[in-house]
């Protein structure tokens, strides 16, 4: 099956649908331009509900038609693979930045992705073919202005900077961990394991939007896996280190983990974000705390659950901080309440610090049920009003 790989935060609570509508409807559309039909037998352009439908065909050479021409505005690229399988991917790039892509479009299948095109010249890349693989996309017409809510752009910019920072740190901390595993140094790997975890946990809802990447990186024993995949990622290595006390057989698993976190870093740079999604991602992070950190399920071998807990809350707080100017302008009382509730969580969690570092926390095994109940209460107290933020920022 083809898979739409245009990054999209997962559809939660109907938000994705609304955001999608806003993205499309909010755009000023230029008239249908059209080009293409004479230039190629396989490329056509039409509009549907004001969105340009651009048909692109993958062949063993690369993709046609080339060049593609279209008028500025929202566009949906529909890809059909008529080749033998040498090429299965198509992406639209501006310089070296991927604006949208469809991967794993096997022969006979179709793929689709959407993006908003501004006037200019772009590269259409269908790598792996016998030709150069690269074509041109020429967008004519006037600049499209999108109606975004006051403060939304700043919120997205701010949160994206956080995502990029966290994924950089994720790669930087995973690399030495992977090296220690590959070197067979169990003690060192154990130490480095906890150091790498926060930067994934802080951005997990975004990582989850990339389909298979999350289970490949973060699946726990028994979690569903992508078709054909074996259990790997952080928790597979965690089990080897902390339960089996060995690195045996883990070198290839570790190598794959590093590849996957690097892929995540690349994808994050292009993820589409909307304020409501950022807000609901923050709620998702606290839900993670409620269901798998407070219970000690997430880190069942290493018991570094409080590290993840701290990171989940940090991720939620970064989202909140990005949205805070928007929220303060709309619902100052809610913004103030959230600040107090974040402070209450920080205070409660602070009681379990084991050192000066941001992520120095005691083992989950030190917690009593009275401790977990108290932590759970402050997280619930924060998550409930946090769930009202998405509504505030879309209004």
């Amino acid at each position: 099956m083809s898979r739409v790989s245009t990054p999209r935060l997962r559809a939660r609570s109907g938000v994705a649908g609304v955001v999608g509508a806003a993205t499309l409807a909010g755009l000023a559309l230029a008239g249908c331009g059209s080009s293409g039909s004479g230039a190629s037998t396989s490329g056509t352009s039409a509009t549907k509900s004001g969105v340009h439908i651009v048909k692109l065909t993958i062949t063993d050479d690369g993709c046609t038609p080339n060049p593609l021409s279209v008028t500025s505005g929202p566009a949906t690229i529909e890809i059909t693979n008529t080749g033998s399988g040498a090429v299965t991917e198509a992406e639209v790039m501006q310089g070296d930045k991927i604006l949208g892509e469809a991967e794993d479009v096997a022969p006979g299948l179709t793929g689709v992705f959407s993006l908003t095109l501004q006037p200019g010249t772009y590269t259409v890349n269908c790598p792996g073919g016998s030709g150069s693989g690269k074509g041109k996309l020429v967008v004519s017409g006037s600049t499209v202005t999108t109606q975004v809510a006051e403060g939304a752009t700043d919120a997205v910019t701010s949160y994206r900077a956080f995502l990029e920072d966290q994924t950089n740190r994720l790669v930087e901390t995973t690399a030495p961990f992977v090296a220690a595993v590959q070197a067979g140094d169990v003690a060192k790997a154990k130490t480095l394991y906890a150091a790498a975890r926060p930067y994934y946990e802080a951005i997990e809802p975004v990582a989850e939007s990339f389909g298979d990447l999350d289970p490949l990186i973060d699946a726990r024993a028994g979690d569903p896996l992508p078709a054909g995949a074996k259990w790997g990622g952080f928790h597979r290595i965690e089990k080897a280190l902390f339960q089996d006390n060995t690195t045996a057989g883990m070198a290839p698993v570790a190598a794959e983990l590093l590849t996957n976190v690097k892929t995540l870093r690349e994808k994050v740079a292009n993820v589409k974000l909307e304020p409501a999604q950022i807000a609901n991602g923050a709620v998702d992070l606290l839900n993670e705390v409620s269901t798998s950190k407070i219970t000690g399920e997430e880190e069942r071998y290493s018991h570094v659950d409080l590290v993840d807990f701290r990171a989940n809350v940090d991720g939620a707080e970064a989202a909140y901080q990005s949205l805070r100017p928007m929220l303060t302008a709309r619902q100052a009382a809610l913004a103030a309440e959230l600040a107090a509730r974040f402070a209450a969580v920080d205070k409660a969690l602070g009681a379990y610090k084991s050192g000066p570092g941001q992520y120095d926390y005691v083992s989950y095994t030190k917690l009593t049920s009275a401790d977990t109940r108290k932590l759970s209460a402050v997280v619930d107290a924060l998550a409930e009003p946090l769930s009202q933020v998405s509504k505030a920022v879309v209004q």
Binding site: A276, A344, D380, V394
Partner: protein, 424 residues
């Protein structure tokens, strides 16, 4: 007769305060009910037909109200010492209770796609089910560890005493106490659950549920004329001689706190004691019928006092058999609990059976009686009664008190007011 309109008429005579509601301009019957009339002339019969127990009144509903089929009791701990946060919670709970008891959802917005709905939704389409929400304040709202949390210490009623330890108690702190209590009663357990769930959600950040207990099979008759006395899990009729909610004189004498009792803000309120009483059902079930009947002092099937023939026959505690032995044994439960042997003390019992599944240690059934009693003053009500029972009652061989709490339930709320307003 147990038809609802009849009960409701009695409820009005009992002073529950439908009049207060009607004078507020009537109210929209909930969207869950078929009858959507908001005619202020609607009488209690129509309300009863719509399964609505008025929330507003001189006294809180859920005390004198004819007992419903189901209970969900919730005790909360406050997470804050901020008096304003507590007041805000009580105001929110008041408006939610007004809506819920009429079969309406809580909040105002269940349709914005980007936000979670205000109401959780599981009661949509169900009858109001005679839902009542009865609120109480625990001793710890006034002082905790000697500290005056909310500046209310000098408002604590003398009658709201910490219950003393009773012989045989095996109290679990996790099933005892609490700063705030909500007794939720309804004829539909889902309606009751929905109510407590939504109050719990609205309390996030201010109060957290400390413990809760679900009850079924109401164990006490609370209204005269009800067709049959319900049975408890020991299989005996329970509440035959209970004080009746529609006995205005006895309610005023034994249940409602008076204006001259020492705490003005409690006038028209009542003190609630709850006890989670585990029954050792397995040992009870292997006791002979005569042992069971002697323990209680009644015949199991008919409910008649030993030595009598019908349930409501007068209990003759002095009667002796041919050998000179007491017909109702000296340690029989009904003898020790009878008001005639307790200086005339009476309390209004409103308990329910409960089960919490399997006892993790023994694998035996974990069930029994969730005892609830309302009284004007626990110092002359539950405490002396229980002291006597705890020391002498033959029933103690088959039961154990595992949870305990006491709450001051303020008077009813007038339209526009809020729960406990007089305290603040």
């Amino acid at each position: 007769m147990s038809d609802s309109p009849t009960l409701s008429r009695r409820a009005v005579l009992g002073g529950i305060g439908v009049a207060a509601v009607a004078s507020a301009g009537g109210f929209a019957v909930g969207q869950r009910t078929a009858d959507a009339s908001s005619d202020s002339s609607k009488g209690e019969a129509q309300l009863a037909a719509a399964a609505i127990v008025p929330f507003h009144g001189e006294h809180q509903a859920g005390i004198a109200t004819p007992v419903q089929d189901r209970l969900l009791f919730g005790a909360f701990d406050l997470m804050t010492d901020d008096r304003q946060a507590l007041v805000s919670l009580l105001r929110t709970w008041t408006s939610s209770a007004e809506a819920l008891t009429q079969g309406k959802p809580v909040g105002t917005d269940d349709t914005t796609p980007e936000a979670p709905p205000d109401d959780t939704g599981e009661a949509t389409g169900l009858s109001p089910a005679r839902l009542t929400l009865t609120f109480g304040f625990g001793p710890t709202i006034f002082t905790i560890g000697g500290r005056d949390r909310f500046g209310l210490a000098d408002r604590r009623p003398a009658a709201l005493v910490d219950l003393p330890a009773f012989a045989g108690d095996d109290l679990d702190p996790g099933r005892s106490g609490g700063d705030l209590a909500v007794q939720v009663c309804a004829d539909d357990p889902q309606v009751a659950f929905h109510a407590l769930r939504n109050l719990t959600r609205q309390a996030k950040g201010t109060a957290v549920l400390r413990w809760s207990e679900m009850g079924f099979g109401r164990t006490s008759t609370t209204t005269s004329g009800s067709s049959a006395t319900p049975r408890n899990l020991q299989g005996f009729k329970d509440g035959t001689n209970n004080l009746r909610g529609d006995d205005t004189a006895d309610m005023a004498k034994f249940v409602w706190a008076g204006a001259g009792d020492g705490s003005d803000w409690m006038a028209g309120g009542s003190y609630m004691v709850t006890r989670r009483i585990r029954m050792f059902l397995e040992t009870w079930d292997r006791s002979t019928l005569s042992d069971q009947e002697g323990t209680i002092g009644r015949q199991k099937l008919s409910g008649a006092p030993l030595g009598a023939t019908a349930e409501h026959d007068t209990v003759d505690l002095a009667a002796r058999d041919a050998k000179g032995a007491l017909v109702v044994p000296a340690d029989a439960h009904i003898r020790l609990a009878s008001h005639s042997t307790n200086d005339g003390i009476r309390i209004l019992r409103r308990g329910y059976s409960f089960t919490d599944g399997v006892n993790p240690v023994t694998g035996q059934l974990d069930g029994g009686l969730f005892f609830i009693a309302y009284q004007r003053d626990p110092r002359t009500g539950f405490i002396p009664l229980q002291r006597r029972l705890a020391e002498h009652d033959a029933l103690n061989e088959y039961i154990q008190h595992t949870g305990s709490a006491v709450f001051a339930c303020p008077p009813g709320v007038r339209p526009g007011g809020w729960i406990g307003e007089g305290l603040f």
